[in-house]
Symmetry: C3
């Protein structure tokens, strides 16, 4: 870990604060063989939309590996090493075939699992195609996303189904992925950081978040059977608004819907999105996943305000969004030893510890903590929001903060109990 | 040399195949002082078209060296180190003079051989210009190309004249150079690889190659007095089509014409092009040379289909060309230890061995093998195509392959004998 | 220091001259902790125009440090480390406040001296903002430029006022900065190099310099109380034109006006510009400063001919300017061991020695030589031009050169005496 630079305690003291320590290698490096890279590879990861696989192959970079994805004419999806095992030509120029993909240079044909089906031009008695495989990863298509498992084949986990994939009364669509030019971790940390809603997302000119969120909430965090949640709680009169967001290791989050004002909330809302931050390499991360909406409401399209780099620099300066606040951290890879974490960062600290435990488990050849469910049932998650009525304010603000916290913790605790009983 | 990664022998096994060894340094590095760079510098190399030398200097990068080429007003061509020996200003901003080139900054004047003609502002008794030379390389203009010799001055070889430079009945023109973003070797290997014609160049939508080439040929390779050839042989009825392509070390190839169908071929056709792959640096290579055509036919203009990066990515994916297949190999510099060479790659293996012998000869202070001819006669080369009539098929396909091979070898052997007798 | 490459003494000898030694690290590296970087940080440096500080923060890179500059709504200017000390978000996306700047992510508020004014969301009893400061540098606004002092706070020098800042009868404006893609030193060396005026600036098609400068001058250099000067002297009949340019360490120069022909010159002209070459990093340098003109004349606007990269490459090749001659030196950072300095480079040598003495003084914890003036008076500088009448030519050109030199030295010596008496 990097040396901690001095805590600066004088005005106009920048001259004494110029060391720039490196990032936390254990948590931020994602390539093959790195501790975090090996950890992330123990989970199914979405790599592309189903819809993006059409008549030509798609070149991908996932966790520092160059790959090609395609759907052959029989409908089977392949995810292969990018470069042909014969002479190295990129299969992004390969020809999609009835079965598998053919290298354009000399016509070798590869099946979706890496089997070599043809080596034209080689002698009839060549056994190369019986002995050699091209590198392939197993894939699974689910509701419009293509997932891959890039870890050791013999320890592949079951494909996880979250309870939010098939919610009665909700429609779900796969969303167009966006690439963020920064490390995966600082994106994910944002998901357990309710405090920024009270600033970044309620700036004048910002869109998509009710101004009710501009007031400081009562913030809390809890571990859950599938990871952890933040709890963001506010009061209006006798009504208490409890907002719960999931973090599901290693890189999923689910937020409750944020746009409607508290006064309009009458039902329990499950998450408006399920989002993965898939590391493309150490400094590029793909946000990909599902949007959902209650039947009768429109499902969001597009990346959302401030969720990409498409606005002008001037606009981004005037009304910054998530992309600007997160990507700009330390030039793309956070330097933790330059931070000064405080009370509002308890969730970030909890999350880092949870991820670090997973990384170290994998380093010791153990399974990392993984959200799971028995007998093919769906994995319970806890993200939602609701308004609890009939809670009169306490006599002092300080006491009321305790009340809000207790109400909110009870809500989550009850959900966990219910889910455990069902499991 | 890099460690060979495991031969992958399981489906969905990419996790076990993620090492990315480096390139073969001996064959691929071209800068000053590198083994391959020193080898390549023992040969005259074309560096620019005559026509490109006009009223302003031309900045060049050749084998990792920054140079400036110009033609002074007396018509003499100079190839000098880019940076002025006085204070380092780039001579790409120099002023072409009646004799030599003048640095724009302080007016020092350099002759085409590096002699310093003037150092204005210096005292009248300054002897600097008698004592100091600017770095220069000898050049030679030939049929529209400017060649340079960048090796040790005391071992400069004669300027080589190929027999294809002045073929009776053929017209020849220097072609516009194209830059390929990859190492020189993988471009050159393509020239001894007849197999790719049967795939890449006969894909639907591809241009410039008769579909007769889409059938597998009988492929063979032979050493010649000037290097090596591939022999690509096919049959139609009693007629046998023999296609011979030259590789002349270190980086010349000559292909027979490919566009006309076999049925139309009635004469012996000498090569349609003579092409050098000049290393600009380790990852950029210039294709430059001559096109030629029989009198009465048009000489090709432009780079040809798929011979550069000018098409859209989508078009290149749909109908890939040579540029796409070769440049995309392992991201620009082939990693030989990731390859799985097979029977069709015998020519590639022969070529690598031939180049490696040359590199090692130079490392041991010997002359590398160089195509040569006595008494100023032209160097014999062997690229051509012809149809041999009156060869009935053998009784089995396997036996016929032997027949084709024998016919073709006899053709080349006879050419070599004739050329030796003439020499 | 780099090994000196052989002095090349043969024609066509480039093969023996291919080593490319590195730059002089002591004089060219500008980052925190480097010898030259520490030296440059002992001086106030202009970093931005006052006019550029408006409604959004400005991201700056100065001597390899990433910073943000802004003017808060009370009018106070801040120059802070770019990244928020809380979680690292770039303050280029910060919100300018009534007092200080607020991070967009979680709302921490920083005063212009780095004091932390607010940490919203933190507990009421948090003492973080009393204990922690954000990194800040002291700034000073002067006549349209914002200057910063980036050295050790306890050894900050007085803000220097040059005598040219408030010349009776002259108007002065801050000029739009330009960025040159090269090291700071080679730009600054140009200022003590009168020889290039006789070539570069009087090329056909060049603008801004009278053709009188195209004749070789008599060139001399002298140390002064504020640094050094070059003296460029020419004759027309009995009139001697003496041009004097200042170099004021570490990176200021002042040139006399150059556009009018000698015949028109009747008065003493003080410098037309005061220019700093501020190192942004090792390979990018900002030219910034003041233009001035006698009352009634127009002050120059824009960068001037050849003073930036805005022209096409072809135009820059045809009529190169200062930018082309200086930036192109050795690809952006001069390699001194590839130079061959001569008589015309005596000023460059003097300047390098002066800078090196300053660097070494700082390395030994001493103060570097700094232009200074007692009791708040302005620092005397010596740049100007004048015509001295009534000096008949000597009998030989060689003797006349001595006459010119003596006249010119007397002019400067007299100025220095007068300034010392006044001080």
């Amino acid at each position: 870990m990097a040396v901690r630079v001095p805590f600066l305690n004088t005005a106009c003291g920048a001259y004494h604060h110029r060391e720039r320590p490196g990032p936390d290698e254990e948590l931020t490096r994602v390539g093959p063989g790195t501790p975090c890279g090996e950890y992330l590879r123990r989970f199914w990861q979405p790599v592309i939309l189903s819809d993006e696989l059409r008549d030509v192959p798609r070149r991908l970079r996932i966790m520092g590996e160059d790959l090609v994805a395609f759907r052959d004419r029989s409908g089977t999806i392949g995810l292969l090493e990018l470069h042909c095992p014969h002479r190295g030509t990129s299969l992004e120029f390969g020809l999609i075939s009835d079965k598998g993909i053919r290298c354009c240079y000399h016509g070798w044909l590869f099946d979706t699992d890496g089997a070599i089906l043809e080596t034209p031009g080689e002698p009839a008695d060549s056994t190369l195609r019986e002995r050699l495989f091209h590198g392939a990863y197993p894939v699974r298509e689910h509701q419009g996303l293509v997932f891959a498992y890039m870890g050791p084949p013999d320890t592949a986990p079951d494909f996880p189904i979250l309870d939010t994939y098939d919610l009665p009364g909700y429609r779900m669509v796969a969303r167009a992925p966006t690439v963020w030019e920064c490390n995966w971790l600082q994106i994910k940390e944002n998901s357990m950081d309710p405090a920024h809603l009270a600033f970044l997302h309620t700036l004048p000119g910002s869109q998509g978040f009710t101004e009710d969120l501009g007031a400081l909430g009562e913030w809390d965090w809890m571990e859950t059977p599938s990871g952890m949640v933040y709890i963001d709680t506010r009061r209006q009169g006798d009504r208490v608004w409890v907002r719960v967001a999931d973090f599901i290791p290693p890189n999923i989050h689910q937020f409750p819907p944020n746009a409607d004002p508290m006064a309009k909330r009458t039902v329990i809302n499950r998450p408006a999105a399920t989002t993965w931050a898939v590391a493309l390499d150490d400094t590029h991360t793909m946000q990909i996943g599902y949007y959902r909406a209650p039947e009768g409401q429109e499902v969001r399209r597009g990346a959302g305000f401030g969720q990409d780099a498409s606005r002008t620099y001037a606009d981004r300066q005037r009304v910054p969004g998530d992309y600007d606040a997160q990507v700009s951290i330390h030039g793309g890879v956070a330097r933790h030893s330059l931070e000064h974490l405080a009370a509002t960062d308890r969730g970030v600290i909890m999350m880092r510890n949870m991820i670090r435990r997973g990384i170290r488990a994998v380093q010791e050849d153990a399974d990392p903590m993984r959200a799971d469910a028995p007998n093919g049932t769906a994995i319970p998650t806890f993200g939602h929001d609701r308004v609890v009525p009939g809670i009169p304010p306490a006599t002092t603000p300080e006491e009321d903060r305790h009340v809000l916290r207790e109400v909110a913790r009870n809500v989550v605790t009850q959900m966990i109990r219910t889910s455990s009983a069902r499991g």
